[in-house]
């Protein structure tokens, strides 16, 4: 039994890892070796990274700007989702109010409906408001679609907090807002970190809305810029893989730093993914 499991585990390791290994491998491959496929690099080079960082190739001319756009959109999404979900979860988990069921239903509806179904009308709408090519449009879309899950995880956690929070607040004569800021917020920091990471990654990984809402080399975030490589026949794949590797690093680092929070958040509250 142990041998069998070990063999299966090794097979799955290879299956899981090979595409990632191959990406990193190609990013160290000089252009001359690109067309002689192998399982390792014969003449490893850092040139692809040097070109990328130095923006020393027409394909990566705006690398830092595009990376910056990705970063700005992701950070604002994180902030927005954190704020919206923290406020919402206080009501959903700690209050009993009319229409609560409708709010819950709406949230779940937004969580479940594929965001691509709404992309075209959303694009039209942003066109009407003259918000095409602004990061604001993309951030608004990202906050909308990342909030439901965040609310879910936060509310689930907040429900497990003792009722003494409100009682302590009431004793001190604090209003609802003070209770929220001084008693509730400090207590939900761990799940807030988890959903902040989740929101950041959601925006960082987003492709469709970024493709629709932002245009022009100086405006687009990194994934859209990378996919533009694909439309030309002579795409420099090794360079593209260097960009891919750089683009993959933040999510992987975040994931390993906050793995504990992320996984427990994912599992305790709900499920997300695709």
């Amino acid at each position: 039994m142990k041998t069998f499991i070990s063999v299966v585990a090794v097979v799955i390791l290879v299956w899981t890892f090979f595409p990632v290994y191959y990406m990193v491998l190609l990013s160290f491959t000089p252009t001359n070796d690109l067309f002689q496929p192998g399982l390792y690099v014969e003449h490893p080079t850092l040139r692809n990274y040097v070109y990328t960082m130095g923006q020393d190739n027409p394909f990566v001319r705006y690398f830092w700007t595009q990376l910056g756009t990705s970063l700005i959109v992701s950070v604002w999404t994180m902030v927005g989702v954190g704020a919206v979900a923290a406020l919402g979860s206080f009501a959903m988990a700690r209050m009993k109010f009319r229409f609560r069921g409708y709010v819950s239903g709406m949230t779940l509806f937004t969580y479940v409906i594929p965001s691509s179904f709404l992309a075209i009308p959303f694009f039209k709408m942003m066109g009407d408001y003259d918000l095409i090519d602004t990061k604001l449009a993309l951030v608004l879309a990202m906050i909308t679609f990342a909030s439901p899950y965040a609310l879910w995880v936060l509310s689930d956690y907040a429900r497990s907090l003792p009722p003494e929070i409100e009682e302590a607040g009431a004793l001190d004569g604090a209003g609802t807002l003070q209770t929220f800021f001084h008693l509730y917020l400090p207590l939900i920091v761990p799940p807030l970190i988890a959903i902040g990471t989740y929101a950041f990654l959601y925006a960082w990984n987003e492709y469709l809305y970024a493709l629709l809402l932002l245009t022009g080399e100086r405006n687009i975030p990194l994934p859209v810029a990378m996919s533009n490589f694909l439309t030309t026949d002579n795409a420099p794949w090794n360079l593209l893989m260097a960009v891919s590797t750089v683009y993959s690093i933040p999510p992987v680092v975040l994931y390993y730093c906050f793995k504990r929070y992320l996984v427990s958040g994912l599992v305790s509250g709900a499920v997300s993914g695709s």
Partner: protein
């Protein structure tokens, strides 16, 4: 692990704990106002807009008589029906394996989530280069062993197969972790009792694990199917509909109708066709899952 997870059903709000607080409709609505504002502006409004625009019957006549649309529906059914279910079944099996405490399994569980952690695009690029018919590693190996090379992304079956395989590669780890958590929530006494009755691995799975994971498995299936129904990124970046627009799914076809062909009403109708199924899924889920 919450007790609710144990039954595989997500927690319903507990009324008991809420009892100390009075009903505060205004406050509740104020705290959820940002959320409701976003949903109204960016979910309800676009949806109504889209359905209203797609209400013209001519667009449906148009798309239903388009062979590309027919092929797309078939592709989408394969994607949502087959790829998702194969993925979830594998995830269920794998989650059982990750429960063993061998060293190689521990290494595996540490690295296992990488495909899920990195964004889709880099993974797709890597797959595409591996599948490149001239310089890809797969054809290189095939020809090395004297086999004919395969134009992976240049024929419908293997190209759409690549889309499905990539989907499984990327999302299998995530669902495995979910099922693993579900398994860990099963009380050990049940397995001990089963062992006394002489149950083997298979009996354990049939009579203990699966009955207890069933509702979790069903919820995950529904969720994953709806999410995948709207997937744009993977098919678009893997094949872009090529060869000859034969590998589209609903989302990529709607993009093509709207932006490449300038037929907004066709693009919206493509989604409207999928709406009834999606809504059924959503309402079933809403009965089972509470926020």
């Amino acid at each position: 692990m919450t007790p609710a997870m144990r039954e595989g059903v997500l927690a319903a709000p507990s009324r008991v704990r809420l009892s100390p607080f009075r009903s505060r409709t205004l406050q509740g609505l104020l705290f959820t106002a940002p959320l409701l504002g976003l949903f109204a502006a960016f979910v309800i409004y676009p949806m109504v807009f889209g359905l209203w625009y797609a209400a013209d019957l001519d667009s449906y006549r148009g798309i239903f008589s388009d062979p590309v649309f027919q092929q797309t529906v078939v592709n989408t059914l394969w994607y949502v029906g087959v790829a998702v279910n194969v993925k979830l079944f594998l995830a269920l099996l794998l989650s059982g394996m990750l429960d063993y405490r061998y060293r190689v399994v521990k290494i595996l569980s540490a690295l296992f989530l990488i495909p899920w952690a990195i964004p889709a695009l880099p993974g797709i690029l890597s797959f595409r280069w591996m599948l490149n018919s001239q310089w890809g590693i797969f054809n290189h190996l095939l020809t090395k062993f004297g086999l004919p090379s395969v134009p992976w992304l240049a024929q419908h079956d293997t190209a759409f197969g690549a889309v499905m395989i990539f989907h499984i590669w990327k999302y299998l780890p995530f669902w495995t972790i979910i099922f693993l958590a579900g398994r860990r929530a099963i009380p050990n006494e049940l397995y001990e009792a089963a062992a006394i009755d002489g149950a083997g691995v298979l009996q354990n799975f049939m009579y203990v694990t699966f009955p207890l994971l069933r509702s979790l498995y069903l919820i995950c299936t529904l969720l994953s199917m709806v999410f995948t129904l709207g997937d744009f990124t993977v098919p678009w970046l893997m094949t872009g509909g090529a060869p000859g627009d034969s590998t589209h799914v609903l989302a990529t076809l709607a993009y093509r109708y709207t932006f490449a062909m300038g037929r907004l009403e066709w693009g919206l109708a493509t989604f409207a066709v999928a709406m009834p199924v999606t809504l059924v899924f959503i309402f079933v889920l809403m009965r089972w899952v509470k926020i």
